[in-house]
């Protein structure tokens, strides 16, 4: 990740802003330039997802790429947002608690950093729905 590449996407990463196709009613996160159903006739507008969903599948990563080696082991999951789309993110919870179907909500977390001198990357991860939630 370079600075410009992150900066271009940070609104999406911070606030789960994807796209909504006004023609077919489809919701997409990550955002799509073209709705895959309507293609050239799609009418894509930005859409902010609520950040509620459930775990479709998951893994616990023990061996990571260099950017994530200080964070291992961590839970990587595919989350189905309540509005429909699936995305890949981390779930922050006790490793004994993670399970398929777990209800989760978004949380603002550090995604990584470019060395101890470089830029910090922030974005959306997920935490279990729990007593703290209103």
């Amino acid at each position: 990740m370079t600075v410009a590449r992150f900066w271009r996407r940070l609104k999406n990463l911070y606030n789960l802003i994807g796209t909504h196709c006004e023609k077919c009613g489809g919701y997409y996160y990550p955002p799509r330039n073209l709705c895959p159903k309507c293609r050239r006739s799609s009418r894509s507008v930005p859409f902010k997802f609520k950040g509620l969903g459930e775990v479709v599948t998951y893994t616990i990563i023990h061996s990571s790429t260099k950017d994530f080696e200080k964070q291992t082991p961590y839970i990587l999951a595919i989350i189905k947002l309540n509005e429909g789309p699936h995305l890949t993110s981390q779930v922050i919870c006790d490793h004994n608690d993670i399970h398929i179907g777990m209800k989760v909500k978004s949380a603002f977390r550090k995604l990584g950093e470019e060395s101890d001198k470089g830029m910090l990357y922030y974005g959306t991860k997920f935490v279990p729905m729990g007593s703290r939630d209103k």
Partner: protein
Amino acid sequence: MKSGIVSYGAYIPRYRIKIEEIAKVWGDNPNSIIDGLMVYEKSVPDMDEDTITIAVEAARNAVNRANVNPEKIGAVFTGSESHPYAVKPTSTIVAEAIGATPNLTAADFEFACKAGTAAIQACAGMVESDMIELGLAIGSDVSQGAPGDALEYTAAAGGVAYIIGKENILAKIESTYSFTTDTPDFWRREGKPYPEHGGRFTGEPGYFKHVTSAASGLMERLGTKPSDYKYAVFHQPNGKFPTRVAKMLGFSGEQIKPGLVVSRLGNTYSGSCMMGLAAILDIAKAGDRIFMTAFGSGAGSDAFSFSVTDRIDEIRNGAPSVEELLANPTYINYATYAKHKGKIKL
């Protein structure tokens, strides 16, 4: 004053380490430390939590609690002594993450443990002068204590955000008063990972002189006395200092108890006093008056007098309470704590 608190939100990471666990590593007697500090455990950030993520979570809780339109926020000021960037604002990231950009001003504050209350004063000033409609003042820290230093027993993580405005306020700021001198009781030099402190010098010439001066100054200006207040909250680097200063000023144990969160949380630095205030607002009723005095090393104190309005009941359940954030922690050992705090260098 015409301004007040429109909303507030807190955030505390879910991890805790007990005093015993730290004392075991350094061969200290845990009981004498617990008795001396009146602190049993402290909060620890997750691997991927820092001052920025904590500030964002607290700010989001504040926005959600009273359904505030973030686009109406005209200023974001984040007070911290652990901003992840030395240069590059925390507050721009917070503003972006709550959807307040781009029509606003933003800056980061630093004044040891009172940067957050300084941010409240700045927001109140801008609101009172009609420069902005709403201002967001945050105190957030993942405070640093060198391994083996006395500070390690209390340096905790947490953040609190206050939205200041003139309409729909849940607590009016009756007045604020500050007392500031150049007193080097505690510092951290540029590029150094851990702060240094003057030991017992931080007490009398630091904390007690400034807190009592600001508190007395404010009560004198308002013509109030301790018994006029339902609650009082003072900066809480440990449990002992605020208890003692309350007594010196004539406040009772009953008045400070609801806001004394340090025993289960540790010192959240820029969030410390403001967290205590949040815990009080969680239970306060319309008409209650609250007295608050923050302290920041270096040194200065900001005193505030608040009176709670009946709006408080409408927004009370819109975001997690401090009690809920303190509940059901996950306890970790020193090794995990060291990993979370980046004390293990790779």
